[in-house]
């Protein structure tokens, strides 16, 4: 039984956790580096030894505010932490400090392009701060199963973004996540990588008859570790609920886990609703105008504006402008290169076509390499001035990612200079023609394809350094005059 896709409308809301990249944890000075040796980054506060008191990190608050501004939220004049009470070994004090009653920011939105190509504005109900919990490791092998707790992550600063139930398809949910991720990354407050666990997204999904205005019982789906999984899980859940409705089964409020291998969701625990009490030890955050203004000043131009500006200022086609504006480091790298008089489209093409694939192959980010915009621009200028050819430029670019040095030096050391000396190239061409008399004869008979073959042989003989334009010219002349 396959339900009619148009009979129901899906109502989707997301709850997104993003780890802030503040230097310390939210309430103590421990390094915010969960990945280190277990329980290395702990102290009396994040272990909640008796007598410990939370000390709210100003940097974490400011990073959270920047993220809220990037999501177009209104920052609350007063926000405060509550104790979300539940008992679990990953929670060292029996409650999680989270902002329940007075969140940091409210009423935001993210714009996307809908599936039909028209703009859609998707609302954000609020964004609040909270602390992460410890990591549990259950070792079930061996005689006695044991559970280990790593408190490195306990107390790490998080923001939780709670959307309005505005999304109607898995496509919209995925577009929302992509746009949100891009904007949040721009602020420099968070890395937002679902694959690396610095961003987690849970989806609340319900169905209603197409055209209805009321909301039905929702089901929460968790455990998706990429944006694609979010889309798959939502698509699957919509289908599952539609089948339930067709069979006349009621939808009950519960949580389901996405299994990415089997591509199904399975029911989890009942949804927990513990109390939230104001915490007496963490003072309220009072965001006055001066403080907010000083944070707002650090908010960079957002990707959508950048993309529009790249189209206007640099005449980039829309697709290239989008590619150059998705990530802040790439966008800034692109603009810095353009400032060095590199033609914008050439810079964009080389970034998308060669630099980004080379980085992806190496599993590196731009900041992991010694490549600077100056060096990159220097390389493209050498190419533009025909000091090197495109093949050599690709090789020099690869070397610049792996070692430290300006392009001029790498070109000189590697002997990548383009040979534009006509005498030298003529000698190369003559040698090749002498070696391939049969092909020359073919050409004479009218087989123009042979020209390409001979060109390749000549370029190879020049060790790839020949000025291709000049080489081709000489080759054509020689062939025609023979």
């Amino acid at each position: 039984m396959t339900p009619d896709n148009n009979k129901y409308e899906a109502v989707i809301g997301l709850e997104i956790h993003a780890q802030l990249n503040a230097a310390t944890k939210l309430f103590c000075d421990c390094p915010n580096q969960p990945g280190e040796a277990p329980n290395r980054n702990t102290c009396p506060v994040c272990l909640w030894l008796p007598g410990a008191l939370p000390r709210l990190s100003r940097q974490a608050v400011e990073k959270a505010v920047l993220a809220c501004l990037a999501a177009n939220c209104t920052i609350s004049e007063e926000s405060a932490f509550d104790q979300k009470v539940y008992y679990y070994p990953d929670l060292p004090k029996g409650f999680q400090l989270s902002q329940h009653h007075k969140p940091l920011a409210v009423n935001g939105w993210i714009d996307i392009i809908g599936e039909d190509g028209s703009p859609r504005r998707l609302g954000i109900h609020h964004i609040h701060m909270e602390e992460d919990v410890a990591r549990l490791v259950h070792e079930t092998e061996g005689k006695t199963p044991i559970s280990l707790v790593d408190f490195n992550r306990a107390g790490a600063p998080l923001i939780e973004i709670v959307t309005e139930p505005d999304m109607r398809s898995s496509y919209e949910a995925m577009e929302f996540l992509k746009a949100l991720r891009s904007r949040l990354r721009y602020t420099g407050s968070t890395e937002c990588s679902m694959e690396q666990g610095t961003m987690r997204a849970d989806a609340n999904i319900s169905l209603r008859p197409a055209g209805a205005k009321t909301f039905n019982t929702k089901v929460e789906v968790k455990n998706m570790n990429s944006i694609h999984h979010v889309g798959d899980a939502i698509g699957h859940e919509i289908h599952r609920q539609a089948e339930c409705l067709e069979r006349g089964e009621p939808i009950t409020l519960h949580t389901r886990l996405w299994d990415p291998d089997k591509r199904v969701t399975t029911p989890m625990r009942e949804k927990f609703a513990g109390p939230c009490l104001p915490d007496p030890s963490v003072p309220a955050i009072r965001m006055d105008e001066a403080w907010l203004a000083s944070i707002r000043k650090r908010l960079p131009e957002m990707p959508a504006q950048k993309s529009e500006r790249f189209i206007a200022d640099y005449s980039l086609p829309a697709g290239e402008a989008l590619a150059m504006s998705q990530e802040r480091d790439i966008a800034e790298f692109f603009e810095a290169a353009v400032q060095q008089a590199v033609p914008p489209r050439k810079a964009a093409n080389w970034i998308s076509g060669h630099l980004l694939p080379a980085l992806k192959d190496r599993g590196l980010g731009l900041s992991d390499t010694r490549l600077t915009p100056d060096r990159f621009a220097g390389l493209l200028l050498l190419l533009d001035q025909e000091k090197i050819n495109a093949g050599a430029a690709r090789e020099v670019l690869a070397q610049m990612l792996d070692k430290d040095g300006p392009p001029q030096q790498i070109v000189a050391q590697g002997g990548f200079e383009q040979v534009s000396d006509a005498d030298k190239l003529e000698a190369v061409v003559d040698a090749i023609l002498a070696e391939h008399p049969d092909d020359v004869a073919d050409y004479k008979k009218g087989n123009a394809k042979v020209l390409g073959f001979l060109m390749g042989m000549a370029m190879k003989a020049s060790q790839g350094k020949a000025n291709p334009k000049l080489l081709k010219e000489i080759l054509a002349n020689r062939l025609d005059s023979q």
Partner: protein, 406 residues
């Protein structure tokens, strides 16, 4: 190193400096204030064997003021009430010059009634809570037990003031000058009519007689209304129980303290460790708190609103008088034998308003005697008017001494 009086005594007193405001003073503490390496179990089974890994801010400041730490005395479980407390016994036996008694309901002031020393609860936010094991974070405060209001002022000035480790403190705190009490400007003392309901006829007579001393010392005694006085206890109890329930969430046996070893899985370990880690009286307090957290949150919210109303009402009263006076205890409720939460709240009904409202309160011993029971004269002042409260206490004490020597 165990004794009937002490939970912990170092081999030799802990002293880091020989000069400072408290040079040479011998300090008694309770095992709910962290001193690195000392047993800090707060009188609670859940903290069995727990040794503090750092010094509380009060301890750091005591040490740098030249004080000498001689040991910690036994205390009621997690500091709620004074059952099993040996602080009064310790000072009566001649140990120490100054005692630190955490005041959640009025414990420091009640210990004054039992010991004949002065007991003091400072304004909330004047002293750091960093390193205090604690139970009711929005009300508790390190209190003092000393032989004179001047000694308390001296200790307070050494320990008070902002601490970067306690964000809940006031960002700026007033100076407490120990040597020169402020001018005798605070001369109007209010007596809430509503306390009559809490006193027996003989206690009322004793209280009136005690007030004669204050009048003799030059204070104007003014009867006034403090409507809703009866609501302080219920309001305190609802909020305190809920906070205590949260505070005790960390005693789970995972990282320190008592753990039930025979448990089969972590959930069982939690239930058994927490089930056996607390005494009956505290356990019922935590149950009450969990009830307000999980089952009746609106009652907790109402109590928070009421708390602010009661604070506002006290602030209004302090517009017409400088201080309030009331006995520290009612004669008929025994604070030492309060085995239930109900009995505990009944015994501390006259001291807990200062905790709920965060106000400074001094208990002067030996002035209000009902038969052999010292009810204690309690002076309560506006928030952060600690110097005023202590100066008034000094003035009354000096007048009584003068009368006595005549």
């Amino acid at each position: 190193m165990n004794s009937d009086i002490f939970t912990y005594q170092p081999e030799s007193p802990l002293q880091e400096s020989t000069d400072g405001l408290l040079a040479g003073r011998q300090i008694l503490i309770q095992p709910d204030i962290s001193v690195q390496g000392w047993l800090t179990d707060a009188g609670c089974q859940a903290l069995t064997g727990y040794q503090a890994v750092m010094d509380a801010t009060t301890i750091v400041r005591l040490k740098s003021a030249g004080a000498s730490l001689i040991g910690s005395t036994r205390m009621a479980e997690l500091g709620l009430g004074i059952n099993d407390s040996t602080m009064a016994e310790a000072v009566c036996a001649g140990h120490g010059d100054l005692g630190l008694v955490t005041d959640l309901l009025g414990e420091a002031r009640m210990t004054a009634c039992l010991s004949g020393w002065f007991g003091y609860k400072p304004s909330y936010g004047l002293l750091s809570r960093f390193g205090l094991v604690g139970l009711i974070p929005s009300m508790e405060c390190t209190g003092f037990l000393a032989q004179s209001p001047a000694d308390i002022a001296k200790a307070l000035s050494a320990l008070a003031g902002p601490d970067e480790n306690d964000f809940s403190m006031a960002p700026e705190t007033p100076e407490i000058n120990p040597s020169t009490p402020p001018e005798q400007a605070a001369n109007r003392i209010g007596i809430p009519r509503q306390i009559t309901d809490h006193l027996t006829a003989s206690a009322q007579t004793a209280f009136s007689a005690g007030l004669e001393h204050a009048a003799g010392a030059g204070f104007e005694i003014i009867e006034l209304d403090l409507p809703g006085f009866d609501q302080f206890a219920a309001c305190h109890q609802i909020i305190a129980a809920a906070e205590a329930s949260s505070t005790c969430g960390k005693y789970d046996g995972v990282r320190y303290g008592f753990r039930a070893e025979e448990a089969q899985n972590w959930n069982d370990m939690y239930i058994q460790s927490r089930g056996r880690g607390f005494g009956t009286r505290i356990k019922s307090f935590l149950f009450q708190g969990a009830y307000f957290q999980f089952e009746n949150y609106p009652a907790f919210e109402n109590a928070c609103v009421l708390r602010q109303k009661l604070i506002n009402r006290l602030n209004e009263v302090f517009e017409s008088v400088h201080l309030l006076a009331l006995p520290a205890r009612a004669a008929h409720a025994d604070p030492c034998g309060a085995d239930t939460i109900e009995d505990t709240y009944a015994a501390f009904g006259l001291t807990l308003p200062a905790n709920l409202a965060g106000l400074p309160a001094l208990c002067l011993p030996g002035i209000i005697k009902n038969d052999e029971t010292d009810l204690g004269l309690q002076l309560m002042g506006p928030h952060m008017a600690d110097a005023q409260v202590l100066a008034a206490g000094s003035t009354i004490n000096a007048w009584i001494k003068g009368v006595g020597s005549k």
